[in-house]
């Protein structure tokens, strides 16, 4: 009996050992395991592109240091390999070639980045044609996700070269960025909700007096998009805002004095400046310094970069910046994650981060999460996983508090929260810092507003 029992136990041990060994064999890292190649599409000549690069390196280091990305089909975690895709100044001419090389020769698994709308609309064709998931963290034109059939071609007329008929290819596009409509909505609502009441009470204006807004923008898809969206939002919502001057200039313009002089003649209450860092800073400086247009200037979020604050100097004091990420508005910050990111970024780079890098940083975590949920680097599976992403918001705030693409739509966009910062001169830093002045709250954050909006010193309102 005892002998029989020993034999049964021995057989059981052998069987269990065999099962365990077999299971372990199936769980051995696959020979196919390799680093995941993520291409960063950035204009490395530009301050914004360099910020994206620094943010990407930080995210990749954090992810790799924490063990990498677990890929179920390989039964192991692998590192992310960052593949820089340098589009120089991100012009359409320089944009397509490097992305083609990365997709066709480097065989990247996923793309992140893109900065200018025109450059991204050009280079994303490579990703569309090759079915490569592309998390677009720049490009404020909604066409980057809406120019396909699933968004009715973004309203583009038939025959327009920007239309893309490849619905399947467009399904690989994910826009993790605000659009011109998003930030124009915030800007005009700020004027309506906050600035107009303040002007009325400060200067005794009648409530029937509309706020007088001037728009000065670069003459490209970006600038024209913002101007058109702003006017459309004002008209659709019947807001008490008059566009008293609308002027644009070529993208290679070097001086804006004459445009600003003409705007001054229109006597606006505020000037909405739509351009990138250097030109926006120059417009705000020239307006005050050379033209004597002492008004409220509002810049858009692509200017949320250390270089903008440096270029502005004291001329930034009390001016406004629409943004979705405010590294200068703290500490304490409105979200703890921003404080951590700012500290780590500063430690690694000895400078403050910009907004373009914040989107990029988040996108690497979105990619990691998607690959882990997909359990594979198969591009279609990764696309599906990004589509069903429901991560908690990170550096970029969203309307739902979650990172979700395509809620209620067939194209893939997030619903970001944007806000208005007012710049405040900081004598210690010899630069401006910022406080959030609008809106009061944000989903998943609670209180967002850090201070009340105040009119700049020496402010001159427009015509009564």
């Amino acid at each position: 009996m005892q002998k029989k029992l020993i034999i049964v136990i021995a057989i059981a041990i052998v069987a269990v050992a065999g099962i365990v060994a077999g299971w372990q064999l199936t769980q051995l890292p696959s020979a196919e395991a390799r680093p995941i190649k993520i291409g960063l599409v950035a204009g490395y000549q530009l301050a914004e592109g360099q910020d994206m690069d620094r943010a990407a390196k930080l995210a990749v280091k954090e992810i790799n240091d924490a063990g990498g990305v677990y890929v179920d089909e390989w039964h192991t975690s692998v590192e992310i390999e960052l593949v820089p895709i340098d589009t120089e100044n991100d012009s359409p001419d320089n944009s397509r070639g490097p992305v083609t090389q990365a997709v066709e020769e480097e065989q990247v698994d996923l793309l992140i980045g893109g900065y200018t709308s025109s450059g991204t609309l050009t280079n994303q064709k490579v990703a569309i044609d090759n079915r490569v998931p592309y998390i677009i963290t720049g490009a404020s034109s909604s066409l980057v996700t809406r120019r396909g059939p699933q968004a009715n071609y973004g309203g583009l007329p038939e025959g327009d070269p920007l239309r893309v008929d490849d619905a399947e290819g467009m399904s690989y596009m994910f826009h993790y960025c605000t659009t011109t409509a998003d930030y124009s909505t915030t800007v005009v609502k700020f004027f309506n909700d906050t600035m107009k009441p303040l002007l009325d009470s400060t200067y005794g204006f009648d409530d029937s007096r509309n706020l007088r807004l001037a728009i000065l923008y670069r003459n490209d898809a970006f600038g024209k998009g913002v101007a058109a969206d702003s006017k459309s939002i004002i008209e659709t919502n019947n807001l008490p805002i008059d566009i008293v001057a609308e002027r644009n200039y070529p993208t290679d313009a070097i001086s804006f004095q004459t445009d600003l002089t003409a705007i001054k003649q229109a006597k606006p209450d505020a000037v909405y400046v739509v351009d990138f860092i250097a030109n926006t800073a120059e417009i705000i400086k020239e307006g005050q310094r050379d033209v004597g247009l002492n008004t409220v200037y509002i810049a858009v979020e692509c200017c949320e970069d250390p270089q903008f604050y440096t270029l502005l100097g004291e001329y930034g004091a009390s001016q406004l910046l629409e943004s979705k990420f405010a590294p200068y508005a703290g500490p304490p910050y409105y979200v703890d994650a921003i404080g951590t990111y700012v500290t780590n970024y500063q430690q690694a780079n000895d400078k403050l981060p910009g907004m373009m890098g914040a989107d990029t940083y988040d996108a690497f975590y979105i990619a990691k999460n998607a690959i882990e949920r997909a359990g594979t680097v198969d591009k279609a599976a990764v696309r599906d996983a990004i589509e069903s992403c429901s991560l908690d918001q990170m550096l970029v705030l969203t309307e739902t508090g979650k990172i979700q693409f395509s809620v209620g739509t067939d194209y893939h966009e997030i619903a970001p929260v944007t806000f208005i910062e007012q710049l405040v001169w900081n004598a210690d830093a010899q630069e401006c810092r910022s406080v959030i002045v609008y809106p009061a709250t944000a989903p998943g954050v609670g209180n967002l507003k850090q201070a009340d909006f105040v009119l700049p010193e020496g402010y001159v309102p427009g015509s009564p």
Binding site: Y249, T258, D259, T261, Q265, A281, L311
Partner: protein, 291 residues
């Protein structure tokens, strides 16, 4: 009706015209004496801006003293350029000169990116923010006024140099008949070096003033070069007073166009002016036949 806005636009046109004048005059001198077309002249402006910026930030030098430093340093760069590049191809096929100068554009731009990065800077002026009121709602900043005065001083000094000095006489003689000048004992090589250095110094001054008035980066040189060429054609090839008139006309025309029609018309109107001048007077306003 002349409004304060239009006066402001005209004033800015004069200021920006003054920078064009310096650039175009340098280009004109080099072309007049050496018959050399230097497409990289705008890059010397860019280098001038960076040098002035560097000495103001690193040494704490006054921005207007930095104009002199930029002139001297860019003149030295000009000596090197003439000696080691253009002299090798001067007198050979014109295409060689053109391609050398086109190549230099990339060399200078990439060198600037390497040395200073691809960041936009502006030179901090001690006069920043100060304005002189010219009446109701019209004012001119002291920096703009200083730029106009500096250009006037430079042009007067240039006039005296050309008219009252031996080297000026040699330059004028060489510009008219280089072979005859050589036979008369003029050291043509020295005249060429001096001419190129002088033209480069003017570009350096233009760059420093540009950097005080406007932000700059390594790519700013290209457009001013094209405008400088248009200005010397409007004013007349080889004519310095022509370059002055051409520069002012060009600056005022483009800013008047911006004021009335919008900035997208800026270059169209300015180049329309070029066409009109050439149709009416093919040699330019002060140009002479055969130049």
């Amino acid at each position: 009706m002349i409004t304060s806005g239009l006066i402001g636009a005209l004033l800015w046109g004069v200021v920006i015209g003054c920078i064009y004048i310096l650039l175009a005059t340098g280009l004109n001198i080099i072309f007049g004496v050496m018959k050399l077309v230097n497409f990289a002249h705008g890059q010397l402006l860019m280098i001038g801006a960076y040098i002035a910026f560097t000495v103001t930030t690193a040494l704490g030098l006054n921005a207007y003293i930095a104009v002199l430093v930029a002139m001297g340093t860019v003149a030295l760069i000009g000596v090197g350029l003439e000696r080691f590049t253009f002299r090798r191809v001067l007198g050979a096929d014109k295409l060689n000169e053109i391609f050398v100068s086109l190549g230099l554009i990339y060399v200078f731009e990439n060198a600037a990116v390497l040395l200073w990065g691809n960041t936009t800077y502006q030179i901090s002026s001690p006069l920043q923010g100060l304005q002189l009121s010219l009446g109701q709602d019209v004012a001119i900043s002291y920096d703009m006024l200083s730029a106009i005065l500096i250009v006037i001083v430079i042009l007067v000094a240039l006039f005296l140099l050309l008219k009252k000095t031996k080297i000026g006489l040699a330059m004028r003689a060489t510009s008219q008949k280089s072979n005859a000048s050589m036979l008369m004992g003029v050291n043509i090589e020295k005249v060429y070096i001096f001419t190129f250095a002088l033209g480069a110094a003017l570009a350096g001054a233009a760059g420093a003033l540009y950097g005080i008035l406007l932000p700059f980066n390594p790519a700013i040189g290209a457009l001013p070069t094209i405008k400088a060429f248009a200005i010397i054609i409007i004013g007349g090839l080889g004519s310095i007073p022509g370059a002055v008139i051409g520069g002012l006309l060009y600056g005022i025309a483009e800013n008047t166009a911006v004021y009335f029609l919008g900035a997208t018309w800026q270059d169209a109107i300015a180049f329309a002016l070029l066409i009109i001048v050439l149709v009416i007077r093919p040699t330019g306003i002060l140009g002479e036949k055969g130049e």
